[in-house]
Symmetry: C2
Subunit: 120 residues, 2 copies
DNA sequence: TATTTAAAACTACAAATGTCGTTGGTGCTT
DNA sequence: AAGCACCAACGACATTTGTAGTTTTAAATA
């Protein structure tokens, strides 16, 4: 259930569901996708595909369905991070950090907080 | 020229080209893709698509073409890293590092080397 | 209960992607 | 010069993805 792969568009839906502490209806989701200009049917299609993949589940309440994520947010993100690092940084986070650092892509604040984290 | 997007399969080709210090022919590339079971035509199609996108260039030498990367390896990797961090870690590398750290996904060696890097 | 209507289901379709098969041209060998 | 071998060009096709229109069903209401 945790190895589900989702697309960019589907991820936008997942983000909404992850952010909510209660199940949401398709319309709730549309509302929270303010920036996106997706039609209801588009969101609906994405929800179907996500359910098909096992990334979400739903229950009927009244006339609508209410959706809940099954795919774990943290696990998914970790998997994606590791996938990228494996693909282009030889599996080592350090390689990625070095590359970003040398390109001045890491904020001073991030540096401080990472140092603090590693000091423990 | 640097904002080129390439697919997973195309990336495999780019990796070979990045690794080589001289231009390679399609057959050279096939040879170095030992794990992949791609047919010559597959590699050839990927090379065409990459050239179309401006990610590589080529010159005719004798009967074959020899390919050279145009897309900069480091720039590409940084772009991908930033893209992922922006997409799922709110744009902050720290968030990603924290997540990986808490999931015990960072090797002790990587931790040491990152600390050293940041100490400078 | 018949009617209205909101929401889900079904269908569609173009572009991108992975993966080749086939055709055709050009340089190398006799 | 003719034939052969090698390689590139072209075309193809299934699958995935983004995006949505249309039809059907079931809930709400008159």
């Amino acid at each position: 259930m945790s190895k589900v792969n989702i697309t960019e568009a589907e991820l936008e839906i997942m983000k909404i569901l992850w952010k909510s502490d209660t199940p949401l209806s398709s319309y709730d989701i549309c509302d929270r996708l303010e920036d996106k200009t997706w039609k209801y049917t588009t969101v609906s299609t994405l929800l179907s595909r996500l359910a098909e993949k096992g990334a979400i589940t739903y229950e009927k309440r009244g006339k609508s369905y209410f959706y809940t994520p099954l795919l774990d947010e943290n696990a998914y993100k970790i998997r994606q991070a590791k996938k990228l690092i494996g693909k282009i940084y030889d599996g080592s986070l350090k390689n990625m950090v070095v590359a970003l650092y040398e390109n001045k892509e890491i904020s001073e604040q991030d540096i401080q907080e990472i140092k603090k984290l590693f000091k423990l």
